[in-house]
Amino acid sequence: MTRFAVRTVPAPLRAEDPRYDLRTTLGGLELTNPVLTASGCAASGRELDQFFDVAALGAVVTKSIMLAPRSGRATPRMAETPSGMLNSIGLQGPGIDAFLEHDLPWLHAKGARAVVSIAGGSVEEFGELARRLRGAPGLAAVEVNISCPNVANRGLVFACDPGAASEVVGAVRRHTTPAVPVLAKLSPDVTDIVAVARSCVSAGADGLSMINTLLGMVIDPGTMRPVLAGITGGLSGPAIRPVAVRCIWQVHAAMPQVPIIGMGGVRSGLDALEMILAGASAVSVGTAVFGDPCAPVRVLTELRHALVARGFASVGAAVGFAHRAPDRAADVGL
C-alpha cells in the first residue's frame, strides 16, 4: 500500500447526502446499510418498530427460533453488571410454526430484511429448522446459533467443538436455498476462535457473526447465592466490546475474504466503526437497545458521519482498514 492510499482527505460527499453509499454485502446478500439488530435483543422486530422503522436497518436479526415452543428458564433471568448485563433466558420462544405464521410474514410485509437465527439441540434439529425456512418469503439469511448445548454430547455447546460446529453448519447449508447466505454465530469462549471459524467456513458458512455472549456469573453478597435462577448467564454490553474486536481482528486476519457481522457492546457509531476497521462488513446493535430503543438508527447515523469524517467513500473501503501496513509518513507526523 502506498502512502497515498491512506484516506486523510475527507471525501467530497457530505454525510447527509443520499448518494453516500452505505451498502454492504454479506456472502452475496446486499444490504442497504451495515447496521443490524442482534439476535435476542430485538424479538422479531415488532416492538422496536414502535420507535423507528425497522425496514430502515440493514436487516433485523431475529431472536433464535427453535422447532417447538419453549418456556425458557425461571426468574431472575437478568443481572446488570459493570457496563453490561448477564442474561439466562433459556431460548424462550413460540417455535418455528408460530414464527412462520406470524413473525416472518410481518417482517416481510414491513419491507424489512430478516436474518433468521435458529437454535437446536442436535444436528438434525438445526437441519429441520433450515428446511422449514426454505423458500419462506422475507428470509434474507439464516444465522446459526451454535452456542446451544449438544444433547448428544453431554450438553457441550456446538460452538466450542469445531467438529460439531461444522456438522451443524453443514446441515443448515444443505437445507438452505443456495442464494440465501448461512451465517455461523461464534462463541468467544473457545481456545482458538480462528479454528472454529475455519471449520464453519469449510462446512459452507457464507459468513460469521461474532461474538455471542461470554459465560459469566454473579453472586449476591446479601443472599450469598447466585443471582440468576440459571446460575450462569451470557455477558453482553460494552464490557465485552474489546473481546469482540479481538475476535473479529483475528478471524479477519486469517480469512480476509469471509464476511463478518460484528457485535458485542456496540452502542455508538464509533463502536460500530471500530468493528468495521477490525474486519466486520456489518455490525449488530444488541444490548444497547435495552437502554435506548432507538440505538440501531442512532448508531447508523453516527456511523455514517464517522465514515464520512474519515474520508471513506464506502463501507467496504473501511472494512479491515486497521489491518493495513504501518504508514511511516503518518507515523513521523508528515
Partner: protein, 293 residues
C-alpha cells in the same frame, strides 16, 4: 389518544423527599396525552456513557398534559441501588431519557361499580390516578394502604381526598392498624360491597389480596412489579407464569402483557419458577448453565 410509547429526552423538574421515598417530576412532552392509570415509564439512568446499561421501570404516579415547561410525568421510588440513587441525586434541568407510556393499563368497569384499591408501600403510586378515573365514572372508591412503617406509607392524603373510606395498616403500628392490608381488606370489602379490587405492591401482597378477593368471588386487577431490563418487550427477563384464555400456562412478559393482570390468572404460588404444566417447558428450564439466549 395516540397509541404506542414514545422515547423523549426529558428533564428533571423536581425531586422531593416524601417519607422514605423520592417523588420525581420530569418534563417529558407527549407522554401525558397517551397515559392511562397503570401505565409505566422506563428511565435511563447514569447519564451519557454510564456503566448502567439497563433502564429502570417505574409506575406512573400522575401526569399533566400542560405546565409551564410542558407535559410532565411523576414517579415515586425508593433508593434500591446505584440507578435509583443516581435519580434521587438529580437536580432540576438534569436530562433523563424517558420511554413511555408502557404496558397494559388498568381496565375500568363499564358501569359504575364499587371498587377497593389496595396499595403496598410506594406501590400505591398508580392507584390515585386510577381512583380519579373511577370516581369520574361514578364508581365508589375505598382505599386500603399498607406499609412497613409510617414513613413508607405513600399517598394517604391523596386517598382521603377521593375515597369513601381509607384504611391504613403498618407492620409496626406506627400509624393506622398494626398488621397487613389483608387483615382489614375483608371488612373494607364487606362495608363497601366491593365489586372489583385493584392492587399494586409487592408480590406476596398481590397474591394474598387476589386470594381473599377470589374467595369472595370478586375479580382483582393486580399491577405486578417484576424486574425488567428494557420495559418494551424485547429482553424476555420480566416473565411470570400466567394462565391464558385457553387455560394453558405460559411465561408472559409483565412489561407488554402486564403489568396489570387479572389476579385469578397469575400463578402466584409459582412466580419465580416455571410450573411443570407450562407450555414449552423443557428440562433446561431448571438446568443451570447455558447462555444460548
Amino acid at each position: 389518544m395516540s397509541d404506542g410509547p414514545l422515547q423523549v429526552p426529558g428533564k428533571v423538574l423536581s425531586v422531593r423527599r416524601t417519607g422514605a421515598y423520592h417523588h420525581l417530576t420530569l418534563v417529558a412532552p407527549g407522554i401525558a396525552e397517551r397515559t392511562r392509570p397503570g401505565h409505566f415509564v422506563a428511565l435511563a439512568v447514569g447519564g451519557r456513557n454510564t456503566g448502567m446499561v439497563l433502564r429502570r421501570a417505574f409506575s406512573i404516579y400522575q401526569v399533566r398534559q400542560t405546565g409551564v415547561y410542558g407535559g410532565t410525568v411523576e414517579v415515586v421510588f425508593a433508593v434500591h441501588g446505584a440507578g435509583t440513587a443516581w435519580l434521587a441525586e438529580q437536580h432540576p434541568h438534569a436530562p433523563v431519557d424517558v420511554v413511555g407510556p408502557l404496558g397494559k393499563p388498568f381496565s375500568l368497569p363499564r358501569q359504575a361499580a364499587s371498587t377497593t384499591l389496595v396499595g403496598g408501600g410506594y406501590g400505591s403510586a398508580p392507584l390515585f390516578a386510577l381512583g380519579e378515573a373511577l370516581r369520574a365514572r361514578g364508581c365508589r372508591v375505598d382505599f386500603v394502604l399498607g406499609a412497613a412503617s409510617q414513613d413508607r406509607l405513600f399517598g394517604a392524603l391523596d386517598a382521603k381526598r377521593m375515597a369513601a373510606t381509607v384504611a391504613v395498616t403498618t407492620d409496626d403500628g406506627s400509624t393506622g392498624t398494626r398488621g397487613l392490608v389483608t387483615d382489614v381488606l375483608p371488612d373494607v370489602m364487606a362495608r363497601g360491597r366491593t365489586e372489583v379490587v385493584y392492587a399494586c405492591g409487592p408480590m406476596p401482597m398481590l397474591r394474598a389480596v387476589s386470594r381473599i378477593a377470589g374467595r369472595l368471588g370478586v375479580p382483582t386487577q393486580c399491577a405486578v412489579e417484576e424486574s425488567m431490563a428494557c420495559g418494551i418487550g424485547v429482553c424476555m427477563t420480566c416473565v411470570l407464569p400466567v394462565v391464558g384464555d385457553d387455560g394453558a400456562t405460559r411465561m408472559v412478559r409483565s412489561c407488554v402483557e402486564g403489568p396489570v393482570f387479572h389476579g385469578d390468572r397469575v400463578r402466584w404460588d409459582h412466580v419465580g419458577t416455571v410450573p411443570p404444566d407450562t407450555v414449552g417447558r423443557t428440562a433446561s428450564a431448571l438446568a443451570a448453565g447455558g447462555r444460548a439466549g
